[in-house]
């Protein structure tokens, strides 16, 4: 692996000294109508360090990220403030000057490498392109050499063969590392990484995170790491800034921020992140973040804050120092308590009496075999987690159980009764007994049906309930998922993601099933909303004596919801154990790898 020799004279390679770092002051981005999307954003990223920018959806984190490259999404504009890099204010540069800066002094790593890389161009050429574009080095030889170096820096093979591949010949992790190689190829002073690991499996994610951290130090550049995932951010960042409703509410060194948050939102956010060590109970944040144009005049978190006093609503509090290197935008920052650490009492699954029994199940899609003769028992009244990465077959298993996948062999039985594979072959009672909640709440609700219509449908179809009785039970069910009955008249596009998923849960539970299959039901949601939904499901499990099959890729979440875990890899269950034992004494190498590589809030 060849890396630039830092002792070589500067003139020999075009590495420039990246001493200044980044200073952002009073950044404001607004819509054409003058509504602020983000405002008053102050950030400092010293050279060689990573600043994590955390925020839930709609907080404006991507808007900040693109503004640092001197750009905005269509319809927005940078309306004020300064972005100082190497003593130059990027907001004052012309479009032509900015083009010279982008890719050379500031660069960007996108969320999805599959759409960021040109599928028709060899990856070596794609790295080379940015060098050619900015007249890097002394000539073609220097550029060719830099391409090889860049591949080496991100841990990709440096032989010529790899550079000749096309993006589709690489894995997701390799593609993302190519994107990182492109971003770092020209020794930029600032790299903005926008959720670069969101689509990756945890093992790949940890590789990518290591690469980014190493390169930032090696290159002495400033990096802004944008993510919704506080756990990921806490493993890579030196300092973290928390963005809420378009403004920075807290900024502190990572460890301090996690352990001694001084803004109520940060404190609640930490409590909402599933803890791998299981020390904290999962707690969500009620309500939702206000959208631009609907933000309260005072502190923007005030409507959801438990510490709020009258004064909080009077004006946006300033971001003030509360400790060394620690800034918070809260007038009651002294009263903010860190996320509670409590003793969870690990609930052990009631042994025997399996409600659902899977024996020797194999499933195919055409000629591709996805599940290979796996067996699984789901004890009555417990929550069994099905843990696996993408492509492990977990969704296929869940769908086969729910009667949505018919190309299968083996035995399924519910409460001792044999289950046919397709839902059409099952009895009405069985269909009512097994309910399914889909991953994506944006595609699981028919946009042309009202919420009430969607929720009432299983009752109408499976139990033959009609008229006023139907309306009454739909209203009741909506109340039970903490929406109110007047939501029945609304359409899905009027609801937030979390609300939609609660509607989906209501639809699943209205026919009073005994088994609820949850397929990655929180993966499209923010952590604060995820915690709420998990709490809701847990509540139903106790009250309705519901049995749960909880499909997920998130091992930290598993510890917080399940009594038993089945780890799925390449269509086979490689480990099946009670939750506490799986975490304290993992048997299979794959489980151990998952436990080691999953980011956790710094401890």
């Amino acid at each position: 692996m060849s890396v630039v020799d830092p002792t070589a004279p500067l003139s020999d390679h075009p590495r420039r000294m990246n001493a200044g770092g980044l200073q952002v002051r009073g950044l404001r981005v607004e819509t054409r109508a003058g509504v602020a999307v983000v405002d008053g954003v102050d950030l400092d990223v010293p050279a060689g360090t990573v600043l994590g920018l955390v925020g839930e959806s709609g907080s404006g984190k991507t808007t900040v990220g693109t503004a640092l490259l001197g750009g905005t999404r269509r319809g927005l504009r940078i309306a004020g403030g300064s972005v100082l890099l190497e003593g130059i204010d990027l907001t004052t540069l012309s479009e032509v000057e900015l083009r010279g800066w982008r890719g050379s002094r500031v660069s960007y790593v996108p969320q999805d490498p599959t759409t960021a890389l040109d599928p028709a161009m060899r990856v070596g050429k794609q790295v080379r392109e940015v060098l050619d574009c900015h007249d890097y080095g002394s000539g073609p030889d220097a550029r060719a050499q830099r391409v090889t170096e860049a591949f080496g820096e991100v841990g990709l093979p440096t032989d010529g063969e790899f550079a000749l591949r096309y993006p589709h010949q690489l894995s997701g992790g390799q593609q993302q590392r190519v994107c990182i190689a492109i971003a770092f190829a020209t020794w930029p002073a600032l790299v903005v990484l926008d959720e670069p690991t969101t689509g990756l499996d945890v093992t790949t994610q940890s590789l990518v995170l290591d690469t980014v951290r190493k390169l930032t130090q090696q290159h002495g550049c400033a990096a802004l790491y944008i993510s919704h995932d506080l756990a990921v951010v806490s493993t890579i960042s030196d300092e973290v800034a928390v963005l809420y409703a378009g403004s920075v509410v807290e900024r502190a060194p990572t460890e301090q921020l996690v352990h001694r948050p001084r803004h109520p939102y940060t404190s609640r956010l930490v409590a909402a992140v599933p803890d791998l060590a299981g020390r904290r109970a999962l707690t969500g944040i009620p309500g939702g973040a206000p959208s631009p144009g609907a933000r309260p005049p005072g502190c923007r978190f005030e409507p959801r804050c438990t510490l709020a006093v009258d004064e909080c609503a009077r004006g946006l509090p300033p971001l003030v120092p509360v400790a060394d290197d620690h800034l918070a935008r809260c007038i009651r920052s002294a009263d903010v308590s860190p996320a509670e650490v409590r003793d969870r009492d690990p609930e052990v699954g009631r042994a025997a009496d399996p409600l659902l029994r899977v024996e020797g199940l194999s499933a195919r899609y055409g000629k591709v075999s996805v599940l290979h003769g796996l067996s699984l028992d789901v004890p009555r009244g417990t929550c069994v987690a099905l843990l696996g990465e993408s492509g492990s077959g977990k969704t296929t298993l869940a769908r086969t159980i729910a009667g949505l996948h018919r190309d299968a062999e083996g035995t399924l039985s519910l409460a001792g009764e044999r289950l046919p594979f397709g839902s059409h072959e099952r009895t009405r009672q069985t269909r009512a007994a097994i309910a399914y909640v889909f991953q994506n709440p944006y595609s699981s609700l028919n946009p042309r049906r009202t919420v009430g219509d969607s929720v009432g449908r299983p009752l109408r179809v499976l139990r033959g309930v009609r008229g006023a009785e139907l309306d009454r039970r739909v209203g009741e069910m909506l109340d039970r998922v903490y929406l109110s009955s007047h939501y029945a008249q609304r359409y899905p596009d009027q609801l937030s993601g979390g609300e939609r998923q609660r509607v989906a849960v209501a639809r699943a539970l209205i026919s009073e099933p005994t088994l609820l299959v949850c397929d990655e039901i929180t993966s499209a949601l923010d952590v604060s909303v995820q915690a709420n939904l998990v709490g809701l499901i847990e509540e139903f499990r106790h009250e309705l004596d519901l049995t749960l099959l909880f499909v997920t890729h998130d091992i930290a979440l598993v510890r917080n919801v399940a009594q038993q875990v089945a780890v799925l890899q390449a269509g086979a269950i490689v480990e099946n154990a009670p939750t506490e034992r799986l975490f304290t004494d993992p048997q299979h190498a794959y489980t151990r790898e998952l436990l080691e590589t999953t980011p956790n809030l710094v401890s």
């Binding site: 969500g284 939702g288 206000p290 409507p303 009667g403 994506n440 699981s444 028919n446 609300e499």
Partner: protein
């Protein structure tokens, strides 16, 4: 536990409370394109519908010498057999209109049916239906229409059926891909897991979610229908009585004397042209609204 869960009504903060997002038609009506198209279409439709009631004379009455462009008291002179051109024009639109409308209705309806059947069968039915439509797609619509009208006696119904036959495979192709897209959504799986019959899923879940492309198809096929119906009228194949006024027929009758008396051709040509442009503008407006290109940036 309940403390974890937000109280009811928190959605008011993040979600718009006032009504569903405006429908496709209303959104497309907000654009100048659709409005202009609608104005032009309404103008021609008004002429065709109101025309027969305000026409100065009978449509078959001979009122002057043939092919006279300047006859006192007549606005646009007389046609090849000495009938009043203006009267014939006012009478001749309605047949084009209702024939085109019915052709569109039958053609799009049949195409939609094939699409719903094929797009949500996941069996050989899909294969057979789509390969059959491929065969029909190989013929230009006008050739297909001429073929069938040569076999069957031309009448209003044969015209409607043959033109619709030309539309159906084209509509089926487009609508099938729309249906396929919707059929992959989770709400369709949710309906399947309840064990609903395929046709109730087709009508309850698939159809309501393909209305966007369906409206675009309606507009587009209406435009084509007008052209085809007028063309068949020109060839004397629209199945109307020989002396009945019809824009297509008028063009054919008037074309030989065009140099001395252009009005029997110019009036219907202008009307058909305007109608085609108008309906096309509407279809285009709806298509743009459906694709979201008319939308200003998201918030």
């Amino acid at each position: 536990m309940s403390a974890l869960v937000p109280p009811a009504g928190d959605g008011g903060v993040t979600a718009p409370v006032a009504g569903q997002t405006p429908g496709l038609l209303r959104r497309s009506l907000a654009t100048g394109r659709t409005r202009a198209g609608l104005a032009i279409t309404m103008l021609v439709v008004a002429v065709a519908v109101v025309g027969p009631f305000v026409a100065p004379g009978g449509e078959t009455a001979i009122v002057g010498p043939p092919n006279a462009s300047e006859v006192p008291g007549l606005l646009f002179g007389t046609d090849v057999t000495g009938r009043d051109v203006w009267t014939r024009f006012l009478h001749g639109g309605i047949s084009v209109l209702w024939l085109s409308a019915l052709c569109t209705l039958v053609g799009v309806g049949a195409g939609l049916l094939i699409a719903l059947l094929a797009g949500y069968s996941r069996t050989w039915v899909d294969e057979i239906l789509m390969r059959t439509t491929d065969v029909f797609l190989a013929f230009p619509a006008i050739v297909l229409a001429l073929l069938f009208l040569a076999i069957f006696q031309p009448s209003a119904w044969t015209v409607i059926l043959t033109v619709a036959l030309g539309h159906a495979p084209r509509v089926a192709r487009v609508m099938r891909s729309a249906v396929l897209d919707v059929a992959g959504r989770d709400y369709v799986r949710s309906a399947e897991s309840m064990g609903l019959r395929r046709w109730s899923i087709r009508l309850g879940d698939l159809l309501p979610n393909v209305t966007g492309p369906l409206m675009v198809e309606c507009g587009l096929r209406l435009t084509y229908s007008i052209g085809l119906v007028a063309g068949l009228g020109f060839l004397g194949l629209s199945g109307l009585a020989i002396d009945q006024a019809d824009w297509g027929l008028m063009i054919n009758e008037g074309r030989t004397a065009f140099t001395v008396q252009p009005w029997p051709v110019l009036l219907p040509v202008t009307a058909i042209g305007l109608l085609t442009v108008g309906t096309n503008l509407i279809a285009d407006g709806i298509a743009r609204a459906a694709a979201g290109t008319d939308r200003e940036v998201g918030e």
